[in-house]
Symmetry: D2
Subunit: 139 residues, 4 copies
């Protein structure tokens, strides 16, 4: 997905604050699912969440206010009790790499207890995996 750096996301250094990237990874993950016909709200409605068990971001180049940022998302691992994504963030204007990221996830129920991913979601996600090179490792 592409997004614009919001002014609220900048900080006193005049650049996008590093915590904003973590929010962008999540937004990209949800968009990535939606683009593949998987509505994360449906999973939630079934009482399952992909709780984040680890996150890692390596910052390469500062993003600035109003920069258009592309967040590419890759599903690198999927099992009934674990999922992992990696991310590459680039500035759309010139393709400069802004950051790499990785997240790991544990399916949980509404009370936060670990559960198995529903069979239909597991099956759908297994078809979307890209074991390719990982851009980082978290959790």
């Amino acid at each position: 997905m592409n997004l614009r750096v919001r002014f609220a996301e900048t900080d006193g250094m005049g650049i996008a604050h590093h915590a904003a990237y973590v929010v962008w990874l999540e937004a990209a993950r949800v968009a990535w699912l939606r683009e593949r016909g998987l509505d994360y709200r449906d999973l939630n409605a079934a009482g399952v969440h992909l709780a984040v068990s680890g996150v890692e971001v390596r910052y390469r180049h500062a993003a600035r206010f109003d920069d258009e940022v592309r967040v590419a998302c890759v599903l690198t691992a999927i099992r009934s009790r674990r999922a992992a994504f990696t991310y590459a963030l680039t500035r759309v204007e010139d393709g400069v790499t802004l950051a790499d990221g990785a997240t790991t996830h544990v399916p949980t129920d509404d009370d936060g207890h670990a559960v198995r991913l529903p069979a239909d979601w597991l099956s759908a996600l297994q078809g979307l995996i890209e074991p390719a090179e990982r851009v980082g490792s978290a959790g």
Copy 2:
């Protein structure tokens, strides 16, 4: 430092959102410096920032609204062009480990270019290092 989980920091899963932890690491880092007589604003006023080059968080147990969270901070590496911290987040009420974290930093000037840490800051921080066991690794 200790902090209370704000309602604004909770999410639709009813727990503290994972990006909030990244903000807490930063607040703890600034407080850690202040408690040791180092005012981060002084460094900024001298035109130097500890830009974040990497962040990693591993989530162990969910923090909830209004939980009092202790964020312990350890300086694990300091050189003129690099700093690294690790963090342990615990729930004050019962000591449960909530998360571990790690950040790496590069001193930069106001324009984001890498610079050397001022000698007085480097010297002061070298006296505060705890090479101890690292709770994670980032960047």
Copy 3:
């Protein structure tokens, strides 16, 4: 309550972002209740929330990174189906007024439907009202 402006709360103008104040009002409201023996989590556990129906902030003077900010909170109206607070934000260092604010609230259930405030909370809050001068009006 008093709080420190977090670096994550600053923006590209080098000051605390205006949306951060709205988060501070909420944190002050929760602390104000707690200091008076009212745990907002207890109300939530009873299935009732004080949903925000209106917010207003007037910014007088910019808060900066690491400033200690005092948020004074006044309950100006309380009925079974409505509550209103006003706020005065000052910089602790020199007492400068940073902002004034006001929020209005509607008690709701977990599904967001308007409900009556539980009798014990209504009674307790009625004893805490300060009809004083209002610093603003919202919603």
Copy 4:
């Protein structure tokens, strides 16, 4: 502009947190300018900011995770030393009104001192004013 409610923007009530709307107003304002050929970064580069002097939001209906929200923006007043906008937030799916908002602004320099808006910006904005009915009043 249209935006999607991010999961990070939801709170423990399962709805978009009320402070997120303030961030959305800002994003909509910047997009509104851009769509009219005015790049807010150009104004900043000229050393001028539209500092927020007041904000008001009235919440009508809760926005939920992944809702697509339309934020309509109206410039209601513009002078060399003051600007005012109003906003109407609707859910794209069914047109339900989510909230109304209003902001007032004071042009400032990089140090936060009030200045006059550059003549070209003032002129361009005067051509974009819609004195229409105001949806609220702030500051």
